[in-house]
């Protein structure tokens, strides 16, 4: 008897669960799609959960800040005021999910622009963005493969990472010596950087030890990989991945007695690294310039607004700053093109829109041109060397061509 009523109860609860799901489904399905014609959705697909969540959040903050500021200033397209609205979806860093998300943003939310901050995802999105679906990819990756694909609807925001290798190598050799150890992360991007640094270092006449790259995300203890890299008695070490684990690796290297210089991949930001380790451990490193060291017209205000939004403790990074700039450029391009729903025209108008962007949006090395393939170029690209006194000194970078 008891078991009968138990199984019935169980069945009822199962029905209840299924019913609840069905209800939510219809409720959510019905809720979508606002009717107002003057709202334009800016789509964003990025890693908002899982291992890349911190990175995805940083990008998202930049997008939100830009959209808030732009809406406050007022955007006017073809004589009509336009409100921008951000719609974010999580892709957990999976390219195929990112492409589905982008398709959804373009189809259902009519987003003319979709922002994506990861090379794999962008490649997947480029399979679908100029064909049956039409939307502009605002690509936050410094992998030049994105523009080499000749996709007509791509805007690549950061500088080509290959630009850094030569200057980084020379600077590090100057402050360290000729022997380099490789200890970058085993991500797509890390591998490409490693290759690029390897080439530049040999070209500059240096010697390179074995490749000790490890996956920063899955290593439980960095001591082993660091010991191995140091066993080759290098004068300089290439490191880089997300800021915090990179900082840990550098700390470990200093602890194990390494005195030479570091080449820090652009994914890691020296000022962000200083939040998890002592600045002493980071000295004698060449890396990208922290946002706070830029002297662009809008930088100071941007830093203030960022602190208000994200808290004093959080360090603003170029993911946030460059995407902030990126959305401002797109909004200006919409105004210049006189359309919010024709991605081709918006893409074409970027070039003429660049000079008209308000100074307040120039925060992190503002570009003055866009290449034919869609790469935004900043005329005065600079990196930095963190010297023995803990001061950032600027290192001018000459940009390389995006061609293969």
């Amino acid at each position: 008897m008891n078991s009968v009523s138990r199984s019935r109860r169980r069945r009822l609860s199962a029905a209840a669960v299924l019913g609840a799901i069905a209800l939510t489904a219809t409720a959510c399905g019905g809720g979508g799609g606002s009717g107002e014609g003057d709202t334009v959705v800016i789509g964003y697909t990025g890693p908002l959960s899982g291992g890349g969540a911190a990175y995805g959040e940083n990008v998202k903050i930049g997008l939100e800040m830009a959209i808030d500021d732009l809406n406050a200033d007022g955007v006017e397209v073809d004589g009509n005021p336009v409100t921008l609205e951000l719609k974010s979806l999580d892709d957990k860093y999976a390219p195929s999910t990112a492409a589905s998300n982008a398709q959804r943003l373009a189809d259902q939310d009519k987003a003319p622009v979709v922002v994506s901050p990861n090379a794999g995802a962008i490649k997947a999105i480029q399979q679908i963005n100029s064909g049956r679906s039409n939307f502009l990819v605002s690509a936050y990756t410094s992998d030049p493969a994105i523009v080499q694909a000749d996709n007509p609807l791509t805007m690549m925001i950061p500088p080509n990472f290959e630009s850094y290798a030569e200057e980084f190598s020379e600077t590090a050799m100057e402050h360290g010596g000729k022997k380099l150890a490789l200890l970058g992360t085993q991500s797509e991007y890390g591998q490409q950087w490693t290759k690029s640094i390897k080439d530049a270092w040999s070209e500059a006449g240096g010697k390179i030890g074995g490749d000790n790259s490890v996956d920063y995300a899955t290593v439980s203890d960095f001591a082993g990989p660091v010991s191995k890299a140091l066993s080759e008695k290098p004068d300089a070490i290439f490191v880089g991945g997300p800021s915090q684990p990179t900082a840990l690796i550098m700390e470990e290297a200093r602890k194990q007695g390494f005195k030479g210089s570091f080449l820090v991949m652009d994914q890691a930001k020296l000022d962000e690294m200083a939040t998890v380790t002592k600045l002493d451990n980071l000295k004698n490193s060449v890396g990208v310039l922290p946002v706070s060291e830029y002297e662009d017209p809008g930088t100071e205000d941007f830093l203030k607004k960022f602190a208000e939004k994200a808290g004093e403790k959080k360090v603003p990074t170029s993911e946030t700053a460059l995407n902030y700039q990126g959305i401002a450029i797109i909004a200006k391009a919409m105004e210049a093109a006189g359309t919010t729903d024709d991605p081709e025209k918006i893409r074409e108008a970027i070039s003429e829109a660049l000079p008209d962007v308000d100074d307040k949006y120039k925060v992190n090395g503002f570009p003055d041109e866009i290449t034919e393939q869609g790469h935004l170029l900043n005329p005065n690209l600079e990196a930095t060397f963190l010297n023995e006194d803990g001061k950032y000194t600027k290192v001018p970078i000459e940009q390389v061509s995006d061609e293969k």
Binding site: L48, S49, G50, G51, A53, A54, G56, E57, Q186, G210, D211, N212, S213, V214, D215, A217, T218, V219, S220, D221, F222, A223, G224, P225, S227, K228, S231, P242, S243, Q244, P245, L248, K255, Q256, G257, T275, V276, T277, K314
Partner: protein
């Protein structure tokens, strides 16, 4: 040679990390036969709660670990009541997916509370030791020593205490245990609570040498399963030998072959061992 000794110590420290993480899992997997994929998430949660008491509340290090361990014990018991208990008669597949669901939940929860950013946990245990020219930090020595002590205590606990004997009885004969009046439901709760508690101690000790993030448990999860299967299900000596052996194999292959092979070596060893001994290293031989 110095490199070899240095890497040996690094491997031992890593082995300590793996062992500490594996103990709780081997209890649950060995006793209840639940492949608890949420173990890594419990480890993560333990680390964050320790961090919370240490940094936000400001209690001393050891106390923070203690408080967090007790809280996680409750979480573990809750997990057993809400998730695994209703599934006690279901096959592994159900446990696995339910555990994955729980893992997703814990990760999202941690991200909602503490954010996605990496955090660093400070430790009062500082300084380095030099042994035979190799450098090893005090924290890592604490990890190795604790791993061995906790395992020894656990072995003792299982031999001596009533609860422990209960666990062992269940491990050996589930039906028999319930016949002689042991309440398997109670034991399940105790075991999961204990495993969460042990995961927290592991996390509290290991977190300072790495970083906190909502996904910090993921990297450990698969490897820890490899370790306890390698040693033989439910075998504590197996977990110790498996943990240290895999860690040293990993460090050494990464040093002398390549880091990519180092990453895979745990699984290659597992495949090789099971191909020869299908029941793991430390399981009593089954005849046919």
């Amino acid at each position: 040679m110095t490199l070899f000794i240095q890497q040996l110590f690094n491997g031992l420290a890593l082995g300590g990390v793996y062992c500490l993480a594996a103990i709780g899992l081997t209890l649950v997997f060995g006793v209840l036969r639940i492949p608890n994929l949420a173990h890594g998430a419990l480890y993560m949660l333990g680390a964050y709660i320790t961090y919370f008491f240490l940094t936000t509340v400001g209690v001393p290090y050891i106390a923070a670990i203690g408080i967090a361990a007790i809280m996680l014990f409750i979480v573990g018991v809750g997990l057993e009541r809400l998730v695994f208990h209703p599934l006690r008669n279901s096959p592994h597949t159900h446990h696995m997916i339910a555990a994955v669901g729980a893992m997703f939940f814990f990760q999202a929860l941690a991200q909602a509370i503490w954010g996605a950013d990496f955090r660093r946990m400070d430790t009062p245990i500082t300084g380095e030791l030099r042994i035979l020219g190799a450098e090893i930090s005090a924290q890592r020595i604490v990890i190795i020593v604790t791993a061995v002590i906790v395992l020894a205590l656990l072995a003792l606990f299982i031999k001596r205490s009533i609860h422990g004997q209960t666990i062992e009885a269940i491990e050996q004969d589930r039906v028999g245990a319930s016949l002689v009046g042991i309440n398997p439901s109670m034991v399940s709760m105790l075991t999961l609570g204990l495993s969460a508690l042990l995961a927290t101690i592991a996390a509290g000790l290991v977190a300072p040498i790495n970083l906190l993030s909502p996904t910090m448990g993921d990297a450990l999860n698969l490897k820890v399963f490899a370790i306890i299967i390698l040693g033989g299900l439910g075998s504590l000596p197996g977990a110790i030998v498996g943990g240290f052996a895999l860690a040293i194999a990993e460090t050494m292959t990464a040093t002398y072959i390549s880091s990519a092979v180092g990453e895979a070596v745990a699984f290659i060893v597992l495949v090789a061992v099971l191909a020869i001994k299908p029941n793991g290293l430390f399981t009593k031989a089954v005849q046919r």
